[in-house]
Symmetry: C2
Subunit: 286 residues, 2 copies
């Protein structure tokens, strides 16, 4: 799909963009949705976990009486493939401020059996109804200006078999977390980047679900190679993001026993911490 | 139950302790377990969320082919009461290294209706089978020696209606995170303590689930009063804990819009990071 790589004449908008079209779910019956998982969001041939989270998140937003994801916990069971899938949701509890739901994504295997890919629990609310108080002690990550950062288009593909999703993202990595791409990983479990959608679509809570799982794994800076499959990923969406690019910072403190955690913070252009996530992933020790 | 508060003549052991008896589940049929939730683990009249996690964790350990919780994500739906409850589990997927399951805890209300209290997704494995490599950059929290820390028995109850669970825990709070108890909260979202079971039982993966949700809320040090109900809590168990007391450090970076996250790290006596957790909780703004 080379058209996505060229700069669009007009910026895409929330609701009318490739991300929206590729995460749109079609109701089949109450609580059951069909989707064709796009090959446009694959990374090294696997469908990106954040894209899948956005698909499930959109289905639950339709099922539940509240529209905004507040906290989603996804367990990744088997690797999703581009192509048809079905999302089955369940309303677990509805409340005044929060509602809780469950969703699973299934695909049909070669033998015609339905295989579950992901299952998640999530609580939804109304971000617009939250009071305006912010008493955060967190500070935005120190990332150099965007023109001093580097994207996949600025050099040879640092990851073999580089991937369709990169055409759809605006990803500019902090050079101080790019040692791995030059064969000199820093040894620190850090990855930082400016993040947007290539077609200029601004962010909403659903695209934040994409943002938390779109950077190269911190394991690369820890000197590991190969992919780092997610076991479980939990996201908290804390605020509706302001227009403009996001800054994403990912940190790993504990690589042990073949597993590591990746903590992501997502900051918007108004210097607000709009999402926090943590995943447990498996490290392929060389 | 005053006998729990006095020092036992013999240390309790894993498998033969009040914590083990009070989290024991009785199989009713495959995947369904009965339990009588003990009033001994209540905090301000609510059953402690970590105790409930241990109950669900024990049921899933029985259901799944793997015995050790690796990652559990719980959504708290309604407040549990001491008394009879039923845990319904489901095996979602079994694999060689990891198995995934789901569990819900139900109680019957005054009208005889079954009400769901908590639902969780969890992936289990075998902690003993993990390789020994540790490349963590995390460092244990700086907590003063235990005899310079303070527990509920060292002064007037800092929380109104102080609670049965305190008789069952060995909790010694770092004085630098105790300002709230003296009416002078530090304004920092930090809480640190030595943590053990009062009867001397050593720790195992199940009691780590208790450890991550047993300290006073960081919100107290941020100057908030009143309780801080958990919306969602995810724990990663990273290693089997060594014998001896644990150190627990809890940090909040982002109090905003009436919600806050609490990140817990649990360290064992061998200076190993044995569990990490994050919860999203509601703050009652005064």
């Amino acid at each position: 799909m080379p058209e996505a790589a060229s700069a669009p004449a007009l910026r895409a908008t929330i609701g009318d963009s490739e991300f929206d079209r590729d995460t749109a779910v079609t109701p089949r019956e109450p609580g059951v949705y069909d989707i064709d998982l796009s090959a446009g969001w694959t990374i090294i041939n696997a469908v990106n976990g954040g894209y899948l989270l956005a698909v499930l998140g959109r289905a639950l937003a339709d099922t539940l009486p509240h529209a905004d994801p507040f906290t989603l916990s996804a367990h990744y069971l088997t690797a999703s493939q581009p192509g048809p899938a079905v999302v089955r949701t369940q309303t677990v509890r509805t409340g005044r401020t929060l509602s809780t739901g469950q969703a699973s994504l299934f695909q049909t295997d070669d033998q015609g059996r339905e295989v579950e890919r992901i299952r998640l629990l999530a609580s939804y609310g109304d971000l617009g109804a939250l009071p305006d108080d912010v008493r955060t002690s967190a500070e935005p990550p120190a990332i150099p200006p965007m023109d001093q950062c580097f994207g996949p288009e600025d050099g040879p593909a640092p990851v073999d078999g580089s991937s369709a999703i990169m055409d759809r993202l605006m990803l500019k990595l902090d050079p101080s977390t790019l040692g791995w791409a030059l064969g000199k990983p820093s040894g620190k479990g850090e990855m930082r980047a400016w993040f947007g959608l290539a077609d200029g679509r601004d962010h909403d809570p659903l695209s934040l679900l994409l943002a938390v799982d779109a950077l190269p794994p911190t394991a690369f800076e820890l000197g590991l190679k190969g992919w780092v499959p997610t076991v479980e990923l939990t996201v908290h969406v804390r605020s509706r993001p302001a227009p403009g690019p996001l800054r994403v910072s990912i940190t790993t403190r504990n690589l042990a026993g073949g597993f590591l955690e990746e903590d992501a913070e997502v900051w918007d252009s108004a210097d607000r911490l709009v999402a926090q996530s943590r995943q447990l992933a498996r490290a392929r020790l060389g």
